[in-house]
């Protein structure tokens, strides 16, 4: 890729934009949402657009298709696509361009492909609507060829299926196929791998890299610097609609100029960040190492030593029988799961979607009875007793979900959400004081008491959900992907909060995540789930540092990593 980049001067760029600004009539007080944005993408080149949600990266990318949204006002000088002045384009000109010059790949193919039409119909649409081919047989051939190009096996059969019938990886490839069927010069991929498992993510990135090798330009939008490191030639970091950093990937990631870029890089949790505060990270002044970043972080308070066993899971199994219409197949979701969690310990569960992590959490929470085996809480039977018998112990076991918002009653205010979990009665004043002290604990304050959950940001919602869990003074908290939906900087703050409270209060955590970095950063021990079984378990350093099982190895190899991405780039050059 880098070799192509060095030829840049000789190849005419696909897109050249200077001083782009995008605004919406009536929104943001009439001020533009994106200002002063420069972009050049040449054939065979990948430019990455990085930033948190709301930074304007999607709108910017879509403005290259004139699809920034209704009422969008775009201004730039120059604004050239394939050497033509895009400022003079009418709607018909833009339509001719879409699909043939620029192809768009969005995230989550389940909603980004028309669910009522087959994959084949979706891929063929761009070919037939531009009349690139008119003969139905030729259109079909091109469709199947494109499906094969993105690595979909048995294209002829798959073409007749609907998005919901395909696995996440195949679905995303089908979406890519529908964007590249007319051989566009520029592929715009908007978070194409977000919400995919790491191994699937690696495959999808491979498909995109293949397109670049074939000479297409790629504008990759991502919030994940590690994904970008492995594939992009140049990086543009955006924040609040402005470019804060840009340049060749290596320069930006090893010598980030802007504090925000540094924060983005340093806030990524990993084995190196263990025991320290992610959000406190800064760079060693004067460090000039070109391969590794010298990051200094403040340490977290000392962890308490593991104490008595809080949760025991012994040989649990669970299977579900599919409804009659599907043919009464029995699918085993969990098999022979045994582990325990001690006071003051953080035990991680890692695995891909469908590995049984969430079913395990539901059984531990007592929301689902196991078919076999037993769960014991604080030495007392838990899964084997009726709910009435469990109620006494309920508050000792708390839960932090991924999507905090949908776990709140939308009409409850913050104080009601926390108060619901407060044990005992106590006077109104005393309870209020306790709620305020809990909010203080999670970095909020009395001002938030009367706020409605909708009006809170993602990070604040997760803080309220932590305060709610702590209100019950639990012995153990089950956290199911609590930071997966958060931007990297917010994720760092929430992880810091969890880690700090955990070491201070000594509450045990059962922490479920698909993100190996988060697990490595936070957990003492880790359980690796695959197809409903624990394939490997032990101390985090051992399991993730010296993996024994092939599956753990493949998981680790698929995780994008900034350093490794940059090294691979050197090798390619």
């Amino acid at each position: 890729m880098s070799s192509v980049w060095s030829q840049k001067d000789r190849v005419a760029p696909i897109v050249e934009v200077r001083g782009l600004s995008i605004g919406f009539a009536g929104a943001n007080g009439g001020k533009p949402i994106v200002t002063d944005f420069d972009l050049t993408v040449s054939p065979g080149e990948c430019v990455a657009l990085v930033g948190e949600s709301g930074s304007g990266k999607s709108i910017t990318a879509r403005s290259l298709l004139n699809l920034a949204g209704e009422g969008a006002r775009t201004a730039a000088h120059p604004f050239e696509i394939m050497g033509r002045d895009a400022r003079s384009f009418g709607e018909a000109d833009w339509r001719k361009l879409r699909g043939t010059v620029t192809g768009l790949v969005m995230q989550d193919a389940l909603v980004s492909l028309d669910p009522l039409r087959t994959i084949g119909q979706e891929v063929a649409e761009v070919i037939s609507s531009h009349r690139i081919l008119t003969d139905p047989g030729a259109i079909r051939d091109r469709t199947l060829e494109t499906l094969g190009k993105v690595g979909i096996p048995n294209p002829a059969d798959r073409a007749l299926q609907y998005a919901h019938q395909l696995s996440g990886g195949l679905r995303q490839r089908a979406l890519i196929a529908s964007a590249i069927a007319a051989d566009p010069d520029l592929i715009i991929a908007d978070e194409p791998t977000t919400s995919l498992d790491v191994t699937v993510q690696a495959q999808v990135l491979q498909v995109l890299a293949e397109r670049i090798r074939e000479g297409a330009g790629l504008l990759l939008i991502s919030h994940d610097l590690a994904v970008v490191a492995g594939i992009a030639d140049r990086v543009i970091v955006m924040r609040n609609g402005r470019v804060v950093d840009s340049g060749p990937t290596r320069d930006v990631l090893t010598h980030p100029r802007h504090p925000y870029t540094r924060q983005l890089i340093a806030a990524v949790p990993s084995g190196q960040s263990r025991g320290s505060r992610l959000a406190s990270a800064r760079f060693e002044p004067g460090a000039v190492d070109t391969t590794a970043l010298a990051i200094v972080r403040e340490p977290l308070p000392q962890r308490q030593a593991a104490g008595a066993v809080v949760l025991e899971v012994e040989g649990i199994a669970k299977s579900f029988t599919a409804p009659k219409a599907v043919g009464r197949t029995k699918s085993v979701v969990l098999q022979d799961i045994s582990f325990d969690v001690r006071a003051g310990e953080v035990v991680g569960i890692v695995g891909e979607s469908g590995s049984g992590k969430s079913t395990c959490a539901k059984i531990v929470l007592g929301l689902l009875p196991p078919d076999e085996g037993e769960v014991r809480l604080l030495g007392e039977p838990w899964s084997s007793v009726a709910e009435a018998g469990r109620r006494r112990l309920r508050r000792k076991l708390q839960y932090i979900p991924q999507d905090a918002l949908s776990s709140f009653d939308p009409r409850y205010r913050v104080k009601d959400i926390v108060a619901e979990n407060l044990p005992g009665s106590g006077s109104r004043g005393a309870r209020r004081e306790r709620i305020v002290s809990l909010l203080d604990l999670v970095g909020l304050n009395a001002d938030y008491l009367d706020r409605l959950p909708r009006s809170l940001s993602g990070g604040q919602r997760q803080r309220v959900s932590i305060a709610r869990a702590l209100a019950a003074e639990p012995s153990i908290i089950v956290c199911d992907e609590p930071v997966s939906a958060l931007d990297i900087c917010i994720q760092a703050q929430v992880l810091d909060l969890l880690a700090e409270l955990q070491s201070r209060l000594g509450t045990a955590l059962l922490f479920i995540s698909h993100d190996l970095g988060v697990i490595e950063h936070l957990c003492d021990r880790v359980l690796v789930f695959q197809n409903g079984r624990i394939v490997e378990q032990g101390a985090t350093e051992d399991v993730l540092g010296r993996p024994q099982h092939a599956y753990t190895k493949s998981l680790l190899a698929s995780v994008p990593d900034i350093q490794r991405g940059l090294r691979a780039d050197v090798a390619a050059a």
């Binding site: 699809l67 699909g99 028309d114 649409e125």
Partner: protein
Amino acid sequence: MWSRIISRLLTSLVVAWASVTATFLALHALPGRIQDILAGDVEYPGLREAIAAEWGLDQSLPMQYFEFLSRILRGDFGTSYVLRQPVIEVVGSQLLPTVELALTAGVLAIVIAGLIALLTAGRGRLSRELASFVELVFASTPVFWLGILLLMAFSFNLRWFPVSGAEGWSSLVLPAITLALPTAGLLTQVLREAMEKTLDQPFVTTVRSRGVGEFIIRWRHVLRHALLPAVTLGGWLIGGLLGGAVITEKVFGRPGLGTVTLGAVLTHDVPVVLTVVLLAAFIHVAASTVLDILYVLIDPRLRAQ
């Protein structure tokens, strides 16, 4: 998918059987002797005995029930003692004009609703608000009032269409429009709202990014999604068309089930009323069966894998 359709058909048979049973029980729950009820306003020697013999009234209630069931299975709906004719002939001869009217109006309503929704969904505010206002007016206008207005304008003043009767297509135009407009008004509102919801879906952005024109996006992608909530409305729509047809026929002096039903009710011709009730139930069962199958055809996600 076929097993689903077959099981749905079986359920429909059960519902149809239940409606027959309910009709039978309703007849027997009425106060007074059955033969007096069935005779209506007519009175001549030997009539009561003839009715008792035809309906097997001397037998036990379960026997009468089975007799009733088997007669309906054979297509024998009894005799109208008022009209001195088999009920099936009375109803059968009047069914066609009503079905003709209801079908024409139904198709017209769907076409109007589809076109207006396609043209106005997600478009400029003015055209949407104007369309929305007109729809609301039509949806809340009583059928008879609309019919009278149309008669005044197009029959009495302009003399484009006949005032009454059922000869040729020209006599069908005004009744069909009368019946279609209120239905179309409501259907358009449902369709447009569903289309606007669909237009916000991410896949529409994907389709736009393929360079597909705005009308094709609506026609090929969005309309199909919007059909799902519209189909839900289908049962109500058919009920509305049948009920509306009765009134429309009266306003335009058309022959049809409406006229027969009204006459039967006024002359206490109970066998005819019973048959019309059963017919309405059967039509509803058949329609909801077809609609449920339509769902599965529209949305592949509802098909078992």
